[in-house]
């Protein structure tokens, strides 16, 4: 211990011990300890102080440092991070609060401080303030914007319910879902819905379902909520982490917190707010029976309208099929033929008329044409030519005849002269030949005569007359002079003529007999 500097006021010779003890200097630590003790014994261990926050600082350690002040005084305050974590609302300068804690001396700085364990906003509920603060903050960030709301699926296949597994809400939701849409898949994600860790569990559940949605076979919708309770009970749904988890979720979320009157931050961020858990289930799924009825209605509407269309088409077709052009298709042709005929007739008439007119014109002009036509001249010339040719032919033939006659006469004279010459020459030849000829003739004649006689003798020998002379006869039918060679040629009473060598005898057949020899 250092020596104290001299202080005459403190030196009193008469009081050596007791006063000296009283005036004995004490250390800062000692004094501080005394003050500490004095405060501890004088002030209650829990004290509530009202004041306005200033110089607010949140240290990186998590501890809060601030000053509470009123018009005339200031009080240093500390709030440890364990207590600060429980604060629902944000601290800022100017906030009127009631700080609850105890006063203690901070030895190192030599000053007393209020160690606040709890802060409550003055004039306003703590939770109400927290709500307002978070509301303002998230509102500024746009978490409540309708633009961020995701559309809900019309027919969710699988729904995750994030709620307490033991509360009334889960039963209400399940029953309502099953009543309306029995085929929907339901997954319950059990979480605590009140108390310290509730918000963390709820926010974690939302995040984890999003992360594992594929693994679960796809999740179309989440219902996050709980049944009714006090403001504190529902508080988890007013926590920022829950609000942010809902906002971040890719799966649409229906919030259902408490009763109709309770509105939470979660409700405001959710894609759809349901007044109650039952209402959430009603919003989540349609009524299957209604859908089936709708389907059946579609079915019958489709059927009806198609039947109507086909019936209409059928009757149209029938109508067309009965149209006369199909029943009597040739009529069309005939009608056109008639028109054609009429046209032809008219054309014919017109043509004939024209021809007549033209003919009349021709006839009228014909004499003139005849007159002026070269035909006449040609014919005239032809005629003349003919006549000339005729005369020419006549003259020529006459001349020819004259020449012929002269030629003939000349020829005759010529032949006569030639004959005369020849005759004299021939006469000699003839007389010579005559002599030769008559000699050979005589010889030849004798030979012939000899031959003739021989032949006559032979003929006589071969003649039937000779046979007849030998006693044979030839019998003929009187009628037809056929020589009889067989009795088969004969009948009774038939007349026959028999030729003998010196005459004939006529006889009648009286007895026919046939030689058996040849039969």
């Amino acid at each position: 211990m250092k020596r104290q500097p001299f202080n005459p006021n403190l030196v009193t010779p008469s009081s050596t011990k007791a006063p000296a003890r009283q005036s004995t200097p004490i250390t800062v630590s000692e004094l501080t300890a005394r003050i500490k003790r004095a405060i501890a014994t004088t002030l209650p261990s829990t004290i509530h102080v009202i004041g306005q926050i200033s110089n607010f600082k949140r240290h990186s350690s998590g501890h809060l440092y601030f000053t509470l002040k009123d018009e005339s005084s200031e009080l240093s305050c500390v709030m440890w991070r364990s207590d600060a974590a429980r604060l629902k609302f944000d601290i800022h300068d100017g906030l009127e609060v009631v700080a609850t804690g105890h006063v203690e001396v901070f030895d190192k700085a030599g000053r007393y401080q209020l160690y606040a364990r709890k802060l409550q906003p003055e004039g306003l509920g703590e939770l109400e303030l927290a709500f307002r603060q978070l509301y303002n903050k998230l509102s500024k960030e746009g978490l409540f914007d309708p633009g961020h709301k995701q559309p809900l699926p019309l027919f969710p296949k699988r729904i995750v319910i994030v709620t307490s597994p033991t509360g009334a809400a889960v039963g209400d939701i399940i029953r309502t879902l099953q009543r309306r849409f029995p085929s929907v898949g339901i997954l319950v994600y059990p979480v605590r819905v009140q108390g310290e860790s509730a918000s963390k569990e709820i926010a974690g559940a939302i995040a984890r379902v999003n992360a594992n949605a594929e693994l679960l076979g796809g999740v179309d919708l989440m219902i996050v909520g709980r049944g009714g309770g006090s403001t504190e009970d529902l508080w988890a749904f007013n926590e920022e982490n829950v609000a942010r988890a809902i906002f971040t979720s890719r799966i649409p979320i229906i919030s259902a917190v408490g009763h109709e009157v309770d509105i939470s931050i979660a409700d405001l961020v959710a894609d759809l707010r349901a007044a109650t858990p039952t209402a959430a289930a009603e919003l989540a799924v349609p009524v299957l029976d209604e859908i089936l009825a709708g389907l059946a209605m579609h079915e019958s509407r489709l059927f009806r309208s198609v039947r109507q269309i086909t019936a209409l088409a059928t009757s149209q077709l029938d109508g067309l099929a009965h149209h006369h052009c199909f029943r009597e298709p040739l009529n069309l042709v005939y009608q056109r033929e008639q028109i054609l005929d009429e046209l032809c007739g008219r054309q014919h008439q017109r043509l004939t008329q024209q021809i007549r007119l033209q003919r009349q014109r021709v006839e009228k002009n014909e004499p003139t044409i005849q007159r002026i036509h070269p035909h006449a001249a040609i014919r005239n010339n032809e005629n003349r030519l003919h006549r000339v040719m005729h005369r020419l032919a006549h003259i020529t033939s006459m001349q020819c005849q004259q020449h012929d006659r002269r030629l003939y006469q000349l020829m005759l004279r010529l032949r006569q002269q030639a004959l005369d010459i020849k005759l004299s020459h021939s006469d000699q030849l003839v007389s010579q030949s005559h002599i030769l000829l008559s000699a050979s003739l005589r010889r030849h004649m004798a030979t012939l005569r000899e031959h003739l006689w021989q032949q006559q003798q032979l003929l006589t020998a071969l003649s039937h007359k000779r046979v007849l002379q030998r006693g044979y006869s030839i019998t003929r039918l009187k009628k037809g002079q056929q020589i009889l060679r067989s009795v088969k040629q004969l009948q009774d009473t038939q007349r026959i003529v028999t030729e003998l060598a010196d005459g004939e005898v006529e006889s009648e057949v009286v007895n026919l007999s046939q030689l058996e020899l040849f039969e």
Binding site: G167, I174, G185, V209, L216, L295, L302
Partner: protein, 79 residues
């Protein structure tokens, strides 16, 4: 007719569209019969989809690796 599998919502929307088209007579006879068949197919498809869904309630629990498992869910007795 349907090239890709339509979702229930798409099927229903298509069905609605087909019914309107036919009712309003916007399509010809042949097409309306085609559409009718398609529509009836969609009705059947929708019914199938509705009947095929899960129809069960399960409980989720967190596994050690952070993923989610499913288990039987015991519904609390309504009070």
């Amino acid at each position: 007719m349907a090239k890709k599998k339509l979702s229930f919502e798409e099927s229903l929307a298509r069905l609605e569209n087909i019914t309107q088209q036919i009712e309003q007579g916007k399509v010809g006879l042949e097409e309306s019969i085609d559409r009718y068949e398609e529509g009836m197919g969609l009705v059947k498809q929708c019914r199938d989809m509705l009947s095929k869904a899960e129809q069960r309630i399960q409980k989720l629990h967190e596994k050690a690796d952070g993923s989610l498992g499913t288990g039987k869910f015991e519904e609390p007795k309504p009070s």
